[in-house]
Symmetry: C2
């Protein structure tokens, strides 16, 4: 799974400040899942987290600030890149982690809510972009390793390969609203790899 | 462009009922673009369209009903599939029509709003899915023609090829929130074609 479905904050070390943050982000995710971004309020998050309202307002400023910090934390807890020794298995691990995250009730609803929020709130948009750029960078390593091993052509754009693995899954998840199945994940890997092997991801350096 | 940016309803024949519908759908799109789905109200659409509220409530029932009919009309007015005689040029025409629609201020904002609406409203979700399945079916014809001409392998799944052309564009548009450039559209065609030529879109019949 791309990241833990429920934030693991309550068991992590770090004292009161870290515990407050974990409670607030967990409550933010609960509220997002239940009511969406338009139904998210600072007061309800504070109440659910058992934290004073002034603390929440002072530290996170706005509901968009809560969403940004939640996405930051989800990125921190997301699965690091695989390293199986083979590009096909590594990319399949990537596709499966995305598929499982989207199909997880809580995480899937979180992504839906933040994707919706990003269409009308600039801070949410930046948080969403930052989350995915971090995930892409993390997994791009498997493509660079494949190039070093001679499995993919020199000059293959690693970030673009990782975007291409995710794109068909998200296209179904948020655009055509079709199921993101194992067959979809496997096909994405097979098609992306076929194109990459044919040199279609070789780009001139930026 | 995938479809006209502004609905062409006011110049189309069809009498009063058709004119009322065109005005109401145009007002619906205006309001969606300006306020998003959460800011869309039946009363404001009626006022902007210059149509009685009871007419709007009777005919469209809800704001989701307005959005569903708008998407239906946008699909009606969307660009039919290309037929250049070559698969690469046909698929590029498809990618460019998607790119231009997403980058059109009014249409792009309409898609953003409906994609956001679909995350929290089942009727909007169905309308969105129906729109894209119609667009995919329309353009899948170019892939079937390419198979007949021997440009792509027998058994190539035409709908999947068309999904694959759009997916990287929408992934940037709604997920990573990155620009959908000409380079992105061209790369999508090149990569999808490379995979299709390698047989990666050949599927067993459903």
């Amino acid at each position: 799974m791309e990241q833990l479905s429920r934030l693991a904050g309550t068991v992590r070390p770090g004292g009161r400040t870290a515990r407050v943050r974990a409670s607030v982000l967990d409550a933010t995710q609960d509220e997002l899942v239940e009511h969406g971004f338009h139904g998210l309020t600072m007061d309800q998050v504070a109440a659910k987290a058992g934290v004073g309202k002034t603390t929440v307002y002072r530290r996170w400023k706005s509901t968009a600030g809560l969403v940004a910090d939640l996405m930051n934390e989800l990125a921190n807890q997301s699965m690091p890149h695989a390293d199986t020794g083979g590009v096909e298995a590594d990319l399949l691990a990537n596709a499966l982690s995305v598929m499982e995250a989207l199909n997880d009730d809580r995480l899937g609803a979180t992504f839906q809510a933040v994707i919706a929020a990003a269409t009308c709130d600039e801070q949410a948009e930046q948080a969403l972009r930052a989350f995915y750029l971090r995930r892409i960078e993390e997994w791009a390593i498997v493509v660079d390793l494949a190039v070093k091993r001679g499995e993919l052509p020199e000059g293959t754009n690693a970030n673009e390969v990782i975007r291409a693995i995710s794109a068909p899954l998200y296209y179904r998840f948020v655009v055509t609203r079709e199921p993101v199945t194992l067959a979809v994940a496997e096909a994405s890997v097979a098609r992306t790899l076929a194109a990459a092997r044919a040199g279609a991801f070789v780009t001139t350096p930026d």
